[in-house]
Amino acid sequence: MQRPEGITQLLVDWSHGDQKALDKLMPLVYSELRRQAGNYLRRERPGHTLQPTALVNEAYLKLIDQKNAKWQNRAQFFGVAAQLMRRILVDHARQHQAAKRGGSDQQRFSITSAEKLVKQPEVDLLALHEALNELKALDQQQERIVELRFFGGLSIEETAEVLHIGHATVERDWKMARAWLRRKLE
């Protein structure tokens, strides 16, 4: 049984490099993100602009014990949530692919509802994930920025806060990484 403090402790442990903490954390954050995603789908209409940090922010409010002094840093949580989000989505896409190959009926994950909502071209999450790994080898900061912006939904300012760098740097690196990924994936 994980109490809110438990989650907070797990986040602290993980940020200190404890990989076991991540294993315990994943299902909890995952289930919360999933719930938020469900709410999001019900609430949002096509063309409606989303509050950039709504999803992780709501997860943050839900999961983190606000009174716990050990985890006061919202930015830190966003950083963690973005990373988790990436893992979750990529794991999911892998399962999806495996299920497709296996031809199991039960495992057919539909993203039609999302397709209806989103006008952007569909993302190949696995290709993106690999491209990001490639980018990491060239420029780790840009990879982090993409992770925070794209998977975490953070704004330029929030990203700057998480990475302790200036807004202008985030903006420039984001432009570059974005252009590079677009060229690579589209």
């Binding site: 999933r34 469900g38 609430r43 989303l50 989505l89 399962q95 199991s104 952007q120 420029d139 589209e186």
Partner: protein, 597 residues
């Protein structure tokens, strides 16, 4: 590319973007110093940068939301404790339900896995488990059996018996249910609730999705106590309202329609909230739509708090008034005026179904024995399914009924014969039935009794010379005779107010508790009886004269234009109709109602 090469590309890319579009080409020419590959690299990045609209411009979860939301938490073959997931059964606000195999006992179970968010609060979880355990101890045929409440790998789950069938929601989606089917299902739900309430467990989320109909027709109520877990932790009324508004866009959206007014207002709840929700469910079974349906959750809430539902009768004239009355009593906004216990509701539902079954049997078994004229006069009515009765039972019933009818027919013929002899009336003569009050305030005392004078006796005297057949029912309470009375197809029933309406319209409830059930069954019979029968209701109470009749008409539209009231407060206390003015007024009223001017 090397990190060094990357940095070079990056610096030129940014420098180029800082320049106006027209100057970039010349800038790149110089910056790349003839390195064609470098120049192409930067130019293609700039081209990618200039393109409009990219997946990367919206956060990943926008695209992933659908994927995440529709994603079952567990996958086939996965094990949770000693359960192996076989398939996904469904999904609700309270978690996902899987078909799983209990590897220990090698049986199929339904495994409900609670969402992580609900299990974060120890206290709430403890209360839920307590309640679920209490529910699991109920062992009632209409309550889903809980095998185990457990936890494995950080997931809390409930393993229950696996029901093959459909939810009531799925059944209603096909179309409104038949009357007999509705009563059968309603009774089973009520019975489950009655047992749970008796054990101090309130469901709080009675709705068609929480009711399963097994293939053999057995109804199972699911998820006792789960709603409490989903409830806001905060308990103040304002907080609950806020929580409600918040959740109305979220997972429990569908539930708003079944919320009781006290639930909608965030007040504390008791068993009576389930009675309301059940009222909504019965209404929906009969009509296919909710009584308080609104375009949005807020509209629905306003409707729940402020509006009266459209009358059932307006959906189908075949829905008996008695059932409408039952539903209205369950859907009374003030919980103090509602059915107080599921047991009361169950008694009423059972009685109604029995009566309808008897009526249906009468129609089926006895109709051929009656004269053509009598059969033709019989009003048409809803066919009633009597699912729980076996064939052999039916035959037994029919035999008993034939015997009873034969006896009744003899009595009726004898009585009619006596009247014909007395009044010389013919078959076409209107029948007037006089019914006196069986209640404490009935006009009846030793002195007048000595003279043979109940109200009905007095009225008989007043109407003696009119070309009508008079039937007196003053010696037996209403509920013993209304079936006979209505089978006669009387033109007019003259009846004391206390026999008729008090309990039905909710006033003087305490004083008329005795008559409560009787009136309900009486109203049930009205719908089976002659649709042209008029009612003349007399009362001594000047204060409420007319009010309740209007209320009654409002609630039972089928009575519209058929109920007439008369204030008889002018006569002496216990011999109302001995007053000449009252007697004359009554006579005039009867003449006018029968069209005998």
């Amino acid at each position: 590319m090397t990190p060094e090469g990357w940095r070079q590309v990056r610096d030129i890319f940014h420098a180029a973007l800082d320049r106006a579009v027209g100057e970039r080409s010349a800038f790149l020419e110089g910056a790349c110093g003839g390195d064609e590959a470098l120049r192409q690299e930067v130019e293609s990045l700039i081209a990618a940068h200039e393109k409009d609209g990219s997946f990367i411009d919206s956060p990943a979860y926008e695209a992933a939301a659908g994927m995440l939301a529709s994603d079952p938490e567990l996958t086939v073959g996965q094990k949770i404790g000693h359960y192996e997931i076989l398939s996904t059964l469904g999904k609700g606000g309270m978690g996902e339900v899987y078909l799983a195999r209990d590897t220990k006992l090698s049986r199929k179970v339904a495994l409900k896995v609670l969402p992580g968010a609900f299990t974060q609060d120890q206290e709430r979880l403890r209360r839920f488990e307590q309640e679920a355990r209490a529910a699991s101890a109920l062992n009632h045929p209409n309550i889903l059996t809980i095998f185990e409440i457990g936890e494995a790998e950080g997931r809390h789950y409930i393993a229950t018996e696996f029901i093959e069938g459909e939810t009531l929601g799925q059944r209603i989606a096909v179309g409104p249910l038949k009357l007999g089917e509705t009563l059968n299902i309603a009774e089973q739900i009520t019975s489950a609730l009655s047992a749970a309430h008796g054990a101090g467990i309130v469901h709080r989320d009675v709705k068609p999705e929480n009711i399963m109909i097994r293939r053999d027709g057995i109804v199972k109520v699911l998820d006792f106590g789960l709603a409490k877990l989903a409830q806001s932790r905060r308990t103040g009324p304002e907080d609950s309202t806020r929580a409600l508004v918040k959740t109305s866009t979220g997972v429990v959206m569908g539930t708003v329609a079944y919320m009781s007014p006290e639930q909608a207002r965030g007040l504390s709840l008791d068993a009576r909230t389930d009675i309301w929700s059940l009222g909504v469910v019965i209404y929906e079974m009969l009509t296919g739509c909710g009584p308080f349906a609104g375009a949005t959750s807020s509209d629905t809430l306003v409707s729940i708090l402020e509006r009266e539902p459209r009358s059932l009768n307006s959906f189908s004239p075949e829905i008996p008034e008695a059932l409408e009355w039952i539903v209205i009593k369950a859907l009374t906004k003030d919980c103090d005026d509602r059915y107080q216990t599921a047991r009361e509701l169950l008694t009423d539902l059972r009685r109604l179904r029995q009566r309808l079954s008897v009526a249906a049997e009468l129609e089926r078994s006895v109709a051929p024995d009656l004269s053509e004229g009598a059969a033709a006069k019989r009003p048409t009515r809803a066919s009633v399914t009597t699912a729980p009765y076996g064939r052999s039972k039916k035959v037994g019933w029919a035999l008993v009924l034939v015997a009873v009818i034969a006896l009744l027919a003899t009595v009726v013929i004898w009585k009619r014969g006596a009247f014909w002899f007395k009044s010389g009336a013919s078959q076409g003569t209107p029948v007037v039935v006089l019914m006196d009050s069986p209640l404490p305030d009935r006009v009846y005392d030793p002195e007048t009794r000595k003279n043979g004078g109940t109200n009905a006796d007095d009225i008989t005297d007043i109407l003696r010379d009119l070309p009508v057949v008079i039937e007196k029912e003053n010696t037996s309470p209403l509920w013993h005779r209304e079936d006979q009375v209505l089978r006669e197809g009387p033109s007019l029933i003259v009846i004391h107010r206390s026999c008729f309406a008090d309990a039905a319209v909710g006033f003087d409830l305490a004083a008329t508790q005795v008559a409560d059930n009787k009136i309900e069954s009486f109203l049930g019979y009205i719908s089976l009886g002659n649709p042209n029968t008029k009612f003349l209701v007399y009362t001594r109470r000047a204060d409420d004269h007319g009010t309740w009749a209007a209320e009654l008409e409002k609630r039972f539209p089928k009575l519209n234009g058929r109920v007439f009231t008369m204030n008889v407060a002018g006569g002496p206390e216990r011999a109302t109709f001995r007053d000449p003015a009252t007697a004359s007024a009554l006579r005039q009223q009867v003449l006018s109602l029968l069209g005998l001017h």
